[in-house]
Symmetry: C2
Subunit: 341 residues, 2 copies
Amino acid sequence: MSKATTIHDIAKRLSINSSTVSRALNNDDRVAAKTKARVQAMAEQMNYQPNQLAANLRKQRSNTIGVVVPYLSRHFFSTVIAGIEEQAHQHGFNVIICQSKEESEREIKNLETMLHSRVDGILISPTLAGDNLAFLSSMMDRKIPVYFFDRHFDEMDTTRVLMNDQAIAEEMCDHLLQQSSGSMRVLTGPIQASIYRARIQGILNSFRKHGLNTEEKLHIEEVPLTLDKSQELVKQWIQRQESFDMLFCMNDMAALGGLQALLDAGYQVPQDCMVVGFSNEPVSKLMHPAITTVHQPAVAMGKVVTKKLIQHIEEPESITYSETTILKSKLIIRASSLRNE
Amino acid sequence: MSKATTIHDIAKRLSINSSTVSRALNNDDRVAAKTKARVQAMAEQMNYQPNQLAANLRKQRSNTIGVVVPYLSRHFFSTVIAGIEEQAHQHGFNVIICQSKEESEREIKNLETMLHSRVDGILISPTLAGDNLAFLSSMMDRKIPVYFFDRHFDEMDTTRVLMNDQAIAEEMCDHLLQQSSGSMRVLTGPIQASIYRARIQGILNSFRKHGLNTEEKLHIEEVPLTLDKSQELVKQWIQRQESFDMLFCMNDMAALGGLQALLDAGYQVPQDCMVVGFSNEPVSKLMHPAITTVHQPAVAMGKVVTKKLIQHIEEPESITYSETTILKSKLIIRASSLRNE
DNA sequence: TTGAAAGCGCTAACAC
DNA sequence: GTGTTAGCGCTTTCAA
């Protein structure tokens, strides 16, 4: 096999025109059933493989969706991508993936590559500092739809699929404050990020609702949300004899680290200090005590946002609006925050 | 902006030929430095974005690598892909990703799509049952290089990058047998899989070396390697009063589940039973006791295999051989398998 | 060092 | 229903 079969080869063998072959292969209504059958049989026989590249060039459409996430290996993001991938393939779209590593420069470079590859649309959970906002806007101006998931920019008026971060954080905080009127420490990621801002707002609401003074009773710390950093920080607090009896972590890894530091120092959890996390990593339920957390429907998020984007790609005129979809996450209360058992 | 700028637009404005523009943009030696500068300036000014689609069609090359893994959301695979992505982008390649979900049918469908998209090469950790082997071979026949990572087929003579599964499992088993001459239970994934076969071979070697009877002392159980399944199974064993004092799990999730079941039943780990896992998931070190495991260089695996594939794509004639690269993983001994402390 | 011209494989407007 | 024709935007001989 020295050369791949083209529609022209098939046409020649069948003594018909290549455009008829094209139509037959694309199941066009106007071509006779009999011709269709002949073409399909011959295509099979000659082991014809359509050349998407050519079709794409002609159609000015790559059938490809570009996805940008901070880190591919974070459980939450790889799970969302699993959802994206599934939905996209169902609709005949390819998915190309990049990681920004939280660097907006890298993110822009990736987006440029995608632009050159003529992706039909972008799905992104953007890096939160830097000048990527302007670049993303310019992509929209070029009629390439950019949809957000999980993270977003308020400034950009486009469709996004988010979690109910504020409400669930408020609910979580309510749950804690019902059991304690002590002092809370919050470990959060970058405050610029909408998700963290939303969650903190939820916490503030809850404090206000309970008539508690946030100046005195609430201490918010912005840190890299990793196991090690969190463990180290909480250890320091304990050494300095700072007092708190609730530890609210914005992800499970930080909660694990914090829990570890507390237990190492001989604290009882939840009696001396309650600990809660976020994201429901598989391990959170295995700790002693098991950690209270929030389950986020990550696969669903991927599917939903992809479905909307594909609809936009396939019928651009029909999309005259942008919408914000809020997916409901769910509180999972476990021993690490249950004093009354 | 109603229409994207092409090289022809630039050529017209500069009153030169589009092929000169093409050459200038590709930094061809034959074009005068002065012309190059003019072209580049104009391209900038007109906000020219190269159309990869067109270049790809002309060059019969998509600059895209197809990646197939069982599950995108498994930590090991998403980490390998992070490495693949990084290496590929450094060399100007895109990466499209599919998950097979361990279904060979789905895998073949994905591969076909990639074929039509004219990927320049495939990186795959294949599903281990089904008729995908034949399909993969046929891709190689079509001059599309297929490289394996982590998993592979002995029957296919192509480059692959694997872990030293057999050696490390033997080392792990040695470590256990030095401390016990009791009975071992192994929780493994599908035996058809080369990785599990290799690891089991390592265990057998270790038993033989220690002069122990595998008929009596070794019990191998093939199960889905999930936390829940493992926990359930070990719980059953305990209820049935089956006796074993070493639990060798082929991943950390299974080890976590097993550990949980043992602790729930009041067993002391490692005194009553040692527990070991595989893959060094972040949580393994957080358990009480911390779990002995194997660190696998996943990012490195992704980078190495991608580098080799790209070399193959760029200089196909120079590749007259296939090679097997074995990456060294590393034993991480922790409290769950240390009786002498 | 540059220009002219052909063509990658496909689709789609138009004609019959 | 089918054929004719004209590109999509780029690269790459070949010629000058």
